[in-house]
Structures are given as C-alpha cells and as structure tokens.
C-alpha cells in the first residue's frame, strides 16, 4: 500500500473493491469479455477521480535546471486541495497571452504532504516549456489539478518494476518515492538517450536503480527491456510493471509483460484539449466497443492489456 493515497481515501471501500476485483478477475481469466467489465470499472474510477479536480493558483517555490534537458519546478500545495497520487497530472496555463494557447499537461514528479509541496519534472522542448523555465519563486501558476486516474497499488505478491523513459521519469520517480516510504520493495529502471539528461535523484539511493542509455554513456548500453533481460535474478520473480515513457518503450514493456503473463500498467501521453474529459481530443485506442478512451480522465494510466498497440 502507498503510505498515503488520497484517491483511495476518497473513492471509498466500494470503489477500491471494484478496482481490485476487476484486476483479480482479469488475471483469473484472460478472456475478451473481461474488457467489458474493465470498461465499466474504468468508468467508475474515472467518475471518482474527476471529483478531485480543482482550479488552483499555487506559488512557485523553486524552478531550476536539473540535467542537460530537464527542469524541475516545486510549488506550494494548497491545504484545501485534494493531494495528487503517482500517475496523476495537472495542466498549467503557461501564458496569459494567446501563444501558447492551450494549457499544457504535466505529471507530478513528487509530492510532500509534510511540506505541502508538489513538483513537476519537465523538458525544455518548445515555446510553452521555454516560458515555464522563466517562472521565479514567489510567482503563482494557474493549474487544474489533480487530474486523471493514477497508478494502482502493486499487488502484494509481486515485485513492482518501475520503468521510466525520457521525461516519463517524473511520475515514476514519484511512484518510487511513495513505494519506498511505505516500505514496499521495488526496482527502478531508468532509460534515456544519454547519461546527461538523467537528473541526480534521491530516489536512486532509496530504491534499487538500473540505468539504461541508448548511447551507453551510463549503465546498460541499450533499452530498458535489455536492462531487464540482463537481470536473471529479477526475472525469476513474479513482477508487476509500472511504466511511463515514449510509446515504443511502453510497447516493448507491454510485450515483455505479456510474454510472461504479468500485469503491466502504462501511463500514456497524448495532445490534450480540455484535459477534463469534455473535448474527446486526447484519445487512445483501446479494446472494447468504445474503441477509444480519453487519456485525461480514463487514463493516463491504463492496464497495458486494454490498449490497442499499433
């Protein structure tokens, strides 16, 4: 169990039971009819998660570069706001002007209940994120938070393997910290193009961490799944995967998990319009009659079995 999981506190026992039950069922019998059950369960969880959303204007506490490509912003978490969970996200109105126009979604990369501080890891990539790097401590940011269905609790009999690729590191670091603080054993695998983009994190001391780089500049030379294949001691155990990163990485982790008949949770990314479930813009292909699910409210975390991998 997470030391503190506000979603679970708020969805109450019926919601938690439904969710756990759905997961058990799917693993008891992997037949397609379970997708229908899953779809309904997801709808119930979505409704509960939506109730947490608030329009907030917290104060920036710090905002600094943490690696070659990445920045991290800490901001005050309002006392009256429902706290986030690993995998949940928020949207930032980056500018008062029309360019950039839309809010930008970011995952939480950390949350401290004691200090009432939330964090976001972000990559300086375009106009919006460049503007974000100029925000100074004391300024406020306009956010909608917390949004989305977060990662579920790891099943008790499995070893959680947390897999991060690129900027997908943010929510995975947060998950690693939460699992550690609840005394849960976990393994963290971090994939990056090159060593320089990986920030130095306290989580690396807390949780066993394996690094994989495309150019071999640090850790294993290869992908996150290559790194996993190099660890027969881990492969001997029953694993459960929690992954966030680029689509090819998520697909590879899903295929790896599927081959071993293990459970895999993926946090997917899609361009968002409203981020509150209204516009149907941030769709992802899923199995079942609906064909698509909204990443913002039915995700961003999905059971990888639900996704139609193309």
């Amino acid at each position: 169990m997470y030391a503190y999981n506000p979603l679970l506190l708020r969805i109450g026992v019926p919601g938690l039971l439904l969710y756990t039950r759905a997961r058990q069922l799917r693993h008891v019998a992997k037949d397609p009819s379970n997708i229908t059950f899953f779809t309904h369960t997801r709808a119930a969880i979505t409704l509960l998660a939506e109730r947490l959303m608030r329009h907030l204007t917290p104060k920036v506490l710090s905002n600094s570069q943490v690696s070659d490509r990445y920045f991290e912003m800490d901001f005050e978490w309002p006392h009256n706001a429902p706290p986030p969970s690993p995998g949940s996200f928020f949207t930032v109105r980056v500018s008062e002007s029309e360019i950039p126009l839309l809010r930008r979604p970011f995952a939480f990369s950390g949350f401290s209940r004691g200090n009432s501080t939330a964090s976001m890891l972000y990559e300086r990539r375009g106009t919006a994120t460049r503007q974000l790097t100029t925000r100074s401590p004391g300024e406020t940011i306009d956010i909608l938070a917390p949004l989305g269905v977060p990662f579920p609790l790891p099943r008790s009999e499995t070893l959680p393997v947390l897999i991060a690729g690129g900027i997908g590191m943010g929510p995975i670091f947060y998950l690693a910290a939460e699992l550690h603080s609840s005394g849960q054993e976990a393994v963290l695998i971090v994939g990056a193009r090159t060593a320089g983009i990986v920030p130095d994190r306290t989580e690396f001391q807390l949780v066993e961490t394996i690094l994989a780089t495309d150019d071999g500049s640090a850790g294993c030379h290869g992908t996150v799944t290559d790194a996993l294949q190099n660890r027969p001691d881990l492969l001997d155990r029953r694993l459960e995967y929690f992954a966030c990163g680029p689509l090819p990485m998520l697909r590879a982790v899903h295929q790896h998990a599927k081959a071993r008949n293990e459970c895999c949770w993926v946090s997917v990314e899609q361009t968002m319009g409203c981020a509150v479930g209204a516009c149907m813009g941030c769709a992802v292909r899923v199995r079942g009659p609906a064909e698509y699910a909204r990443v913002c409210t039915e995700g961003p975390v999905f059971d990888s079995e639900e996704i139609v991998w193309t």
């Binding site: 939506e50 329009h55 029309e98 126009l101 319009g273 409203c274 209204a278 149907m280 992802v284 292909r285």
Partner: protein, 301 residues
C-alpha cells in the same frame, strides 16, 4: 438590467453560452465553475448511432488557434437519453442539444427521438462539421439541403431550432437565408474553419485525416465579420461564435449584430471565461446605461 435573450420560445438567462464540443455535457466542468450560471449549454453533438471518433492524434495547436479533428465522437442518442439527459434535465441554464448526422433523415429521426425521450430547451443542427465524410459540411455548404433539413426538423418540434453555419463557403449569408426559409429560429455562426498543419520534419500532415477545424483567437476577426454580415442578411437572431475568450471579444460580436454568443476553445484555457464574460457585458451595459442586452448592437457607429 435585463441580460436575457429569447430564441423562439426559449429564454436564455444571459447571452453567454458554451459551444458544442467544448463543454461535453456540462458535468465535466462541475468541479470548476457554476455550470448553471451559463446562459446556454450547447451539448456535444448527438448522432443516431454511437461514434468512436476519428483517428489519433485529433488535435494540434497552431498560432493562437486549435486545429481539431474529433469526428463527432459521442455515445449516440440512446445512451444520451440514459446517461446524459438525467443531469441535463436538472440544469437551471438553457440546454440546447447539438444534433448531427450523415443524411437528412438522421437529423429528423434524432430530433424526433429526443422530442420523445429527452426533451430539453431546443436543438442546434450541426450541418457544418468539417471533420466527417458525410453530413456536416456536405449539407451545410448547400442552401437547398440546409433549407430542406431545416423544414423537416421544424415539422417535428416546436422547440427552437438553431442552424449552425459553416464559414467554409463563399457566402454564408445565403446559407443563413436558406435556414431562415426552412423555419429556423436562429443562426449560430460559425463552426470551425477548414485548416491543415504539416509536420515538416516528418513530411506528413499532423492530423491523420489531413485537415481539421480551426478555432480559437486566430479566427475571431472572421467570426466578427460574419456576424456583422449575416445578421444583416436575415430577420432571425444570430448567435456569434469564434475565438471568444472574454468580455471584449463577446462585445465585438454583440456590437456586430449577434444577440448572443458561444464560448468554445477558451473554455479549455480558462474555465472561468464564461463568468468573466457575463460580468464584463454587465459592466459594459452599466457604463452605457443600457437596460437590455439587445440594445448593445445599436451602439456600433
């Protein structure tokens, strides 16, 4: 001071609505604003059968604009009645159901179905969606087809029928006159403009369907010009849409001749935009000693 606006037999409490497709069915924004304070809620389009929507990605931001190709993704009329209608029926604001279809019969049958199972304040006929192969633009660009579908829908409902125009024609005023001839109670103007964005690095269009519909501040001057022109071409009221993101933009439309407005893309940027816009219109009316919102248009010199 009277902010109400009357369309057919329905009176909206104020002139600021939320545009179809940008506000879901209202409940999505319940946590963020007082949905009942909006003048009119135009639902996500409802079609006879459920539609999964278009291929992904479906949206891309362009300069001060949003290009979308959602493809009328919705649960269909039957699930609309069971899942969406119960909460919409309780709304204090005016609720207009946006209706779309492939062919004329679809519009008529959906309105008939809703009349029987989910009667709300009125209907907005979406004959202007640029992101579907059939219906949408194929009807909305042809005055005869617009008049015909309007006439047939008119014959099955007493509730207000609003026809939503596309800007993707040489003369939207001609389409507006056709809707008026068919018995429409009002025109909403405008739907999105056909646009395209190309990813130069990958040498392909960003949207798999190639084109999308452009909305946002980028299109506002086009919408204001159309409101000015089309409102003068017909006797029925015009509801202005296009890049409205606050009081200034809304007042431009009201001065141009619109009796009401719809806020669309701006809901994504600032959920409080409708409240700010209503307040701003009220302040403007005080400053100009106006008693009724309909008097705003007369101020334009």
């Amino acid at each position: 001071m009277d902010l109400s606006v009357t369309i057919g037999r329905t009176t909206m409490p104020n002139p600021v609505g939320v545009a179809s497709g940008t506000f879901g069915y209202g409940s999505e924004y319940e946590q963020l604003i007082d949905v009942d304070s909006i003048g009119a809620l135009y639902t996500k389009a409802v079609t006879r059968a459920a539609r999964p929507g278009n291929e992904i990605p479906r949206i891309v931001e362009t300069t001060a604009g949003l290009l979308n190709s959602i493809g009328l993704a919705n649960v269909g009329q039957e699930r609309f009645v069971t899942e969406k209608y119960p909460s919409l029926r309780e709304r204090a604001c005016t609720v207009i159901v946006n209706v779309a279809g492939d062919v004329e019969d679809d519009y008529v049958e959906t309105v008939e179905f809703l009349e029987e199972h989910a009667p709300l304040s009125g209907y907005e006929l979406n004959v202007s969606c640029p992101n579907v192969k059939a219906g949408g633009l194929a009807i909305g660009t042809n005055p005869e087809l617009v008049e015909h579908v309007t006439t047939r829908v008119r014959s099955v409902t007493e509730r207000p029928v609003i026809v939503k125009l596309t800007p993707n024609v040489t003369d939207p005023a001609e389409i507006a006159r056709a809707a008026e001839a068919g018995g429409a109670d009002a025109i909403s103007c405008m739907n999105t403009l056909v646009g395209m964005a190309i990813d130069v690095k990958n040498l392909r269009t960003v949207l798999p369907g190639k084109t999308g519909g452009l909305s946002g501040p980028a299109v506002r001057p086009i919408g204001v010009a159309l409101a000015y022109r089309v409102s003068r071409a017909v006797e029925i009221p015009l509801i202005g849409i296009g890049g409205i993101d606050g009081p200034d933009a809304a007042l431009q439309y009201l001065l141009a001749g619109a009796v009401a407005v719809q806020v669309g893309t701006a809901n994504f940027v600032d959920p409080t935009v409708t409240g700010r816009t209503i307040d701003g219109i009220r302040t403007f009316m005080q400053e100009h000693n106006l008693q009724r919102v309909g008097e705003i248009a007369s101020l334009l010199r």
